[in-house]
């Protein structure tokens, strides 16, 4: 190669680089968004690997919380009608879409670990039982796991430092830990703009669709100042998605609530692990 060809080649290379540098889109397409089908498939996979069921014991109907500062008007909860539920798993998908729950990586799926807030146990859905006397909240070192006066066991993600004490102290393993950075790994999809995505190292679990209750409550209070709010008309994503109407959301302290009406007709059960912890989420079975 002579001097002339060398300089020519250098110019060409530089030109190409100049072109490449001015491209508007980068070549990196690694962080793609998962499709809805990916979520559907993961739910099917999880539902097919149902964990063993709970030992259920009969409990009385949940009443007002015993903690100080608890609301005398509202205690939100849910009932899952075991006579109606056929274990289709539609509630899991609806929950993922409502709460922007990420997919799990291949390795975690292989180990049977999913981020789903609702799991199939013995063919029926189970989630956080929102215990009135919640053992998870007692061990949180940062105060990220707290109880609201209206009976929700809530997680404040920005406060969570990921000690995982709460997960270890939950008798039913309802809490899920973000071992991976789901957003960075392209496992997350923002279906619902109203719910923040969780970052790596944060514990999460069923919130009883806290965002729906908050939105409804504050709209109500703004429109009808001074009027009592009982959460009438709110339902969780899973309850709304259940084709058999087997999941019933409502207010335990409101006799007009569909939850109380349904629970009065049936026997109320809770897993033996949480039966003594005053759970807000219960199972219904057998007509009374």
């Amino acid at each position: 190669m002579d001097r002339r060809e060398f300089i020519k080649a250098c110019s060409v290379v530089l030109l190409m680089q100049a072109f490449a540098g001015c491209r508007r889109v980068t070549l990196d397409t690694s962080s793609s968004m998962p499709s809805l089908e990916d979520f559907v498939n993961e739910v099917k996979m999880a539902a097919s690997r149902s964990k063993p069921g709970f030992d259920l014991v009969q409990i009385p109907m949940p009443s007002a919380l015993k903690q100080s500062g608890a609301s005398p008007l509202n205690r939100f909860g849910m009932a899952i009608d075991l006579d109606a539920c056929n274990g289709c798993g539609k509630c899991i998908l609806a929950c993922m879409q409502e709460n922007n729950i990420p997919l799990s990586s291949k390795e975690r799926r292989a180990a049977g670990q999913f981020m789903h807030w609702i799991e199939m146990r013995g063919g029926t859905p189970s989630m956080c039982f929102h215990c009135g006397d919640a053992p998870c909240e007692k061990v949180c070192p940062t105060g990220a796991a707290t109880h609201t006066p209206d009976g929700l066991s809530t997680m404040m993600y920005k406060r969570c430092t990921g000690s995982r004490f709460c997960g270890a102290n939950c008798p039913v393993g309802a809490r899920k830990f973000n071992y991976d950075d789901a957003v960075k790994e392209g496992l997350s999809r923002r279906f619902n703009s109203e719910v923040p995505l969780r970052s790596k190292g944060v514990m999460e679990k069923c919130s009883l669709c806290l965002q729906r209750l908050q939105d409804h409550k504050y709209s109500h209070m703004a429109q009808f100042p001074g009027n009592e709010w009982r959460g009438t008309g709110v339902e969780t994503a899973c309850a709304g998605a259940c084709p058999k109407h087997a999941i019933i959301f409502g207010n335990w302290l409101d006799p007009a609530s569909p939850l109380v009406k349904a629970a009065k007709r049936k026997n109320i059960y809770a897993p033996a692990e949480v039966a003594a912890l005053d759970p807000s989420v219960v199972y219904l079975r057998g007509n009374r």
Partner: protein, 177 residues
């Protein structure tokens, strides 16, 4: 030497060509961005409430920025003799349906319902009042950036003692999700 110059020229042409082909469009500036909007000319001085332009500020969660139609409610008519008014009218005619760019600074894990606070008797200016002489923009409450401490202080009745607000919720789940 000749080839070096030729190579350099080719490179220069290459850059220009690349710029021509791959030029990134400047984000289109809304025409109204050229107008120094002054809240003091639009508020109490002409008998307008905040909610007239910022729809939703009294009853909804968010106080929205006005649309072009809101501006045109008044600006259809030649309103003043001021020299700037013609420029304003022409730019308003040019602008899109939503003439104002606004970035919401409320973090996504925080719930703030404007209507709820209005119903509790909180005035817009309690949180959005600027320092003396300054206009409202800039995302500042009384000259300071918004912070959770401001919310908590008022909710726990440490501030606004003269206003006699009712004590408000201070548990985490009230305002965070």
């Amino acid at each position: 030497m000749k080839y070096l110059v030729a190579g350099f020229l080719a490179l220069l042409c290459g850059f220009f060509l690349a710029d021509l082909v791959f030029r990134q469009k400047m984000p289109e500036l809304q025409p109204m961005a050229q107008i120094p909007f002054d809240h003091s000319l639009h508020g109490d001085s002409i008998g307008l409430d905040c909610s007239h332009c910022h729809g939703g500020s009294h009853f909804q969660s968010r106080a929205h920025m006005p649309s072009k139609k809101d501006c045109l409610d008044c600006h259809r008519l030649p309103l003043t003799e001021k020299p700037g008014i013609e420029k304003l009218d022409s730019l308003l005619a040019l602008s899109g349906e939503f003439p104002w760019n606004h970035k919401n600074i409320l973090p996504e894990h925080v719930v703030f319902h404007h209507g709820l606070h209005y119903a509790a008797g909180v005035q817009c200016s309690d949180c959005h009042r600027p320092l003396d002489g300054a206009d409202y923009r800039g995302g500042l409450a009384r000259g300071k950036p918004y912070s959770m401490q401001m919310c908590v202080d008022c909710h726990a009745r440490k501030t606004f003692g003269e206003k006699d607000f009712k004590p408000a919720a201070v548990y985490c789940g009230a305002c965070h999700r």
